[in-house]
Symmetry: C2
Subunit: 309 residues, 2 copies
């Protein structure tokens, strides 16, 4: 169906992204990736969402931990902890190499996009992994324990604090990645992967006219909430704390005005008639590679059907 | 015999240093350590000689490689190489943690001495490991391939270039570590460990009146050259290239005016009468911990005998 833009954040979104990459060629699919989770730590520029996608697309993701790189060892972080260093962010030895490579490239004057291109190419990835912006945007979690940098909330505090809202530092001055802007000029549809709406997708939607630009295109979103729980991560907990029902319906409401179609899990098939936009149900809990490919095919077909209306 | 200052550089010197630490209490022995080999790499402050001593004193040195930390893994550097990063300096996963811990402390405003104290204490070392200076000094190797930063000569080029001399960038503005200066005010003798005279010991001797201050104390040196070869490292190769005989005699000549006694290996026992200073021969090739302790005892006794003259 031509050229698709896929918006993705963490590990859940990256699963569908891998499926999409298996059925669409690099000139048919561009990934726009959240960088609001990025942070500076131990002198390194860490981009967790870029990395989750990079590891997923290269099939180097760690299936034991559910995050990070496959075949990982932990000698660095364990030794750092023994030396009294900051060990709350569990950097694997191999994962650390990616952060170091990226940081060195940034220090040498590369943009985040250029660093991402070099890294993904060296890992055999042919699709473009485009950070949403080359400028720093940092998600701040407003909580009952004050304002927290995202990784402090997410990893250091284990999503414990009660969330009251979010803001995105730097968003006003951040420009949409030119790679994404150019792709939008010749783009046939948009898939929002099953990522956290508040901290993975919203930072992108707040960027520099990006949300507005998407409204002129057919857009579908895949619910990260299945049967009232988040498949991965704190989305459902956040929704409770934000006084929303933790349902696929509430996710669709969150995207109201943007999306033209919605995809829910088969578990939520009974809800399909209740949505304000065309909605389909399908198996969306991706365990195998085939699950990823199947959901990707369903999404692309659904998007194509909306486009032809 | 009171309070001793030991000057040490790389792995060879660190062997004797461990022996000394086993027979002298922390208030009887201070280590002054070369930092001319230090460099900035991958955003880290790396102090190879401080680390060699730290690993030796904590008995965490890697006996398989002859350098670095015991029980090491190499996932970081192998992955970095695969990503196209700089992999010529073989940073082990555990070793990397020490560099990261130090670098973080320096970034937080600690001096190199304070960082060294925190690291050695966390590794159970009671003796003070004092960097020669808290200011940066960088050894430059003049060679037939131009001027090379020390680690570029030593590791990247594998000591291949032909050496014509050395200089120590920053030495004019570097102050002797106050810990060493204070120790000198109440110091009974000095042992120069079997380290490379040109790149491990000379940077210290060129510091801010340090060489002069040592001349007022009893000083002995242990030859790093045994039977015409260097036990470890490029000392003998450098001596050839500098048109010196690669002998213990030439090492003693190098230290002329500074040392009051010299220690050679039993291999060179026949030479003992040829030195300009009192010289003893003893087993100095240290394989076991007992070898280290035995040589340490011999050195301390020899130094004491010179002091009482």
């Amino acid at each position: 169906m031509g050229r698709i833009l896929a918006l993705t954040g963490g590990v859940g979104g990256a699963k569908l992204a891998l499926g999409l990459s298996q059925i669409l060629a690099p000139d048919e699919l561009l990934f726009a990736v959240n960088t609001g989770d990025d942070f500076e730590h131990l002198g390194l520029h860490i981009s967790p969402d870029l990395d989750s996608l990079t590891y997923a697309l290269s099939q180097q993701n760690n299936t034991e931990t559910g995050w990070g790189r496959a075949g990982e060892s932990w000698n660095f972080i364990e030794t750092l902890g023994a030396l009294g260093g900051e060990a709350w962010f569990r950097l694997g030895d191999k994962d650390l190499a990616l952060h170091t490579a990226r940081t060195q490239m940034l220090r040498s004057g590369a943009t985040l996009s250029q660093a991402s291109a070099a890294i993904t190419q060296s890992m055999g990835i042919e699709h473009t992994v485009a950070p949403m912006s080359d400028s720093p945007v940092r998600t701040i979690v407003h909580s009952d324990q004050g304002d927290l940098a995202f990784q402090h909330y997410f990893v250091r505090e284990g999503c414990g604090p009660k969330v009251s809202g979010f803001s995105f530092d730097g968003i006003a001055n951040a420009e949409l990645n030119p790679l994404i802007r150019e792709w939008l000029a010749d783009c046939d549809g948009v898939i929002i992967c099953p990522s956290n709406p508040f901290v993975s997708v919203d930072p992108m939607l707040h960027l520099d006219g990006f949300g507005e630009a998407l409204k002129s295109l057919p857009v579908i979103a895949v619910s990260p909430i299945v049967g009232g729980i988040a498949i991965k991560g704190p989305a459902a907990k956040m929704m409770h704390e934000l006084n929303m029902p933790a349902t696929a319906l509430a996710v669709a409401d969150h995207y109201q005005g943007l999306i033209d179609g919605f995809v829910v899990d088969q578990t939520d098939a009974a809800l399909v008639e209740q949505f304000n936009v065309p909605t389909i149900s399908t198996p969306s809990v991706m365990v195998t590679l085939q699950d990823r490919i199947d959901l990707a095919r369903t999404c692309v077909s659904f998007l194509a059907s909306l486009s032809s209306n």
